[in-house]
Symmetry: C2
Subunit: 413 residues, 2 copies
């Protein structure tokens, strides 16, 4: 029988070290998010299509960008394209939740995008959002929380671009008029298509491209406009957290989605100009679903991308020691199982051979899977009441008293 | 604007304490699975339809039981209905992986089932599988690992039904003949529809129902048949792990899917007869996809159900202490942020008010969200260089030196 065994187009299997990195990121996000008082929320992988199409006024057009399908009763559904829309639905459906509602979600999302390097149709996001507060304190709390995650993961050289939709709208209005949303969508492509192409696209809709480029590269100190004071307040509060060093004003940052209402952010690696997250304030989104006006702000980390960025050094430092207990005598399985249990109880990883194979093959396996230590316990060792511990890095062997398998740490410094 | 804000039919949002329980289960599974040497694998939420339909020989009929859709290029896809099929595809596509390949996966799966109590169309599974070993050692390792998870979660009264497909097939063949698979599917419904209905269904296909019922309720000690010795070996090895007390032979256990080849298990809560997991050996599944015969065995825990079973007491014992730093003076934000950071660094959960509201409302929030401690730091406290700590359970208040926010433990015994 012949099958095409590759995963569906635009998706991938995440295995071995990459999978462990992704888990490490998930765990770190969870731990830091919770320490800031964010609480978990799980929503279904798919939503009613009417909910998905309500966002950003895209309507039916969103169908082209998502996985759309019907269930067997003909209900229109779609895989979620982000974690913000499900949050907005949940908050709208549960108006009684105490505010601020600080929720986190770590989960995959799906977009019907053109697959390319580091751009997949299925990817993981880690989101935090604060619903119910219109204070910049909420914005900064989200930024500080994300910086803490990145610091814990020892991500170096990251920066967060900051802009204010109100400010840039005020600056561009005289030149963009009622084409402001179109202009935003074009500027948003600056990183992807470059300055020349952006200029060309602006000219195609009869916008003075020189003027636009001039404005979005202005130094903010020359500006005196509504929205600037929010950025200044943001920087002041950020300095209390010690995170102002990561922030960088960038008037060219508008972000694609229409629903941002004031401060917007984009997180990126400076050296490679690789974006891996972003967010901002969206004070009108929940109103679209529930006709209740509830302010909200949040940030999303693209953790599939973060997985590619995470250094191997950091990852290796974090990993747990791995022990293999060899099976030398089938009649002594009872002891091997006892030894495994004792080692696992100390927080280490421990396997024993479940293949009933000879010692040589067991040691091949230990090498192929990078075990740190191998343990031997045969008839001779049993008589002497010791186990033999081999360090697979150095080759050094030690005999240690059998009862000391419960305190291995002192032998493996 | 009016929207139906409920999640799609058969799915649900998992929020607040339920969401925290689910995370606790996920974390515990992950930690125990890894200690046994299982490694993570993430596969996409959807698979090519041809892969999904290859399993269990269901073919096109599986379309009725899953979420089936096409992408925009007309490719046939389906949301995964379990985590075993994606594993089989991965192993088939990556024949070079060292064996045994011990992988875990913790993720949602989707079935187009009739929603009812504790039966959803989206639910989470936590799977472990050992690929490449035909030894019963691999089966027992999986069972022991699952028992360790359930012990860590303090799940009481669980049992694991054990049977052997080979044994029950040998026993039933004389009476079921070539209708054996039909008979299996009917017996599999025993828990759901009861003995009378099972008998009726058996008679409808001209099977001696009395005889079948007699066999599947036999005591195994009276039997001398092929397959029995595997069960006996399983119990012997289980006793080395100390888990034989959880196992219970049940000749009526056949499990719905055709692809199990020998030992099969079902995990359930004895008192309520509520099943929340199962598995078994499937030595032929990978061959269907890759024409390579690779033995495999595994167990799946239904962790959405486990979430409903998890006791509140256990959960409360596990939770971290929550602190609220009240905002008394806007000019002192810097200190509040410093206090929060110090408390978070000690592993506690800490929030401060990001709503710019008065003290009364801050305390209402602390009550509604069950904070354990509230911290006050106003002008008076600043002068005295202390913070005031209120225990929200007892109402007791303490003044503690400002610098001692870095070692709160000694004040909150």
């Amino acid at each position: 029988m012949k099958f095409d065994l590759t995963p569906p187009k635009g998706t991938k299997d995440i295995a071995s070290d990459q999978a462990k990195k992704l888990w490490k990121i998930i765990e770190t996000c969870k731990q830091v998010f919770e320490s800031f008082g964010f609480e978990p929320l799980f929503t279904p992988a798919f939503e009613k299509f009417e909910i998905l199409s309500a966002k950003g006024g895209l309507g039916e057009a969103v169908k082209e960008e998502i996985y759309y399908f019907k269930d067997k009763a003909g209900r229109e559904l779609g895989l979620r394209f982000d974690l913000t829309m499900p949050l907005a639905r949940f908050v709208s459906a549960n108006p009684q939740i105490p505010k601020p509602f600080k929720r986190y979600a770590i989960a995959p999302v799906w977009r019907y995008d053109n697959p390319q390097r580091l751009r997949y149709r299925e990817f993981w996001q880690a989101d935090i959002d604060i619903v119910g507060s219109s204070s910049i304190l909420a914005d900064v709390e989200c930024l500080a929380c994300v910086c803490e995650v990145l610091n814990k993961l020892e991500i170096k050289n990251f920066k967060i671009r900051v802009n204010n939709r109100v400010l840039i709208e005020n600056l561009l209005k005289p030149y963009a008029g009622n084409k402001i949303k179109q202009v935003f969508r074009i500027i948003d492509k600056l990183d992807k298509i470059g300055e020349e192409c952006v200029k060309k696209e602006l000219e195609e809709i009869d916008i003075n491209s020189e003027k636009i480029m001039e404005i979005i590269t202005m130094d903010i100190s020359e500006i005196n406009q509504k929205g600037k004071e929010e950025i200044e307040k943001l920087f002041e509060l950020a300095s209390f957290y010690g995170i102002e060093k990561f922030l960088k004003i960038d008037l060219s940052l508008v972000r694609g989605l229409d629903y941002y209402t004031s401060l917007v952010y984009e997180i990126y690696i400076e050296k490679e100009n690789l974006s891996f997250g972003g967010g901002g304030r969206y004070d009108n989104l929940i109103e679209i679903l529930s006709s209740r006006k509830i302010p909200a702000t949040g940030i999303s980390l693209g953790i599939t991308r973060l997985m590619e960025i995470l250094s191997n050094d950091f990852f290796k430092k974090q990993r747990k020691l791995k022990f293999l207990v060899t099976v030398l005598e089938n009649s002594m399985l009872k002891y091997y199982i006892e030894i495994c249990k004792a080692i696992r109880d100390q927080g280490f990883i421990c396997e024993f051979d479940v293949m009933e194979r000879n010692l040589r093959k067991q040691l091949d396996y230990a090498n192929s899977k990078a075990f740190d230590f191998v343990i031997f316990f045969g008839k001779k060792e049993k008589e002497k009441n010791v186990i033999k511990l081999r360090n697979m890095q150095t080759g050094e062997e030690k005999e240690i008293p059998f009862q000391d398998i419960r305190c291995l740490s002192k032998y493996i410094s």
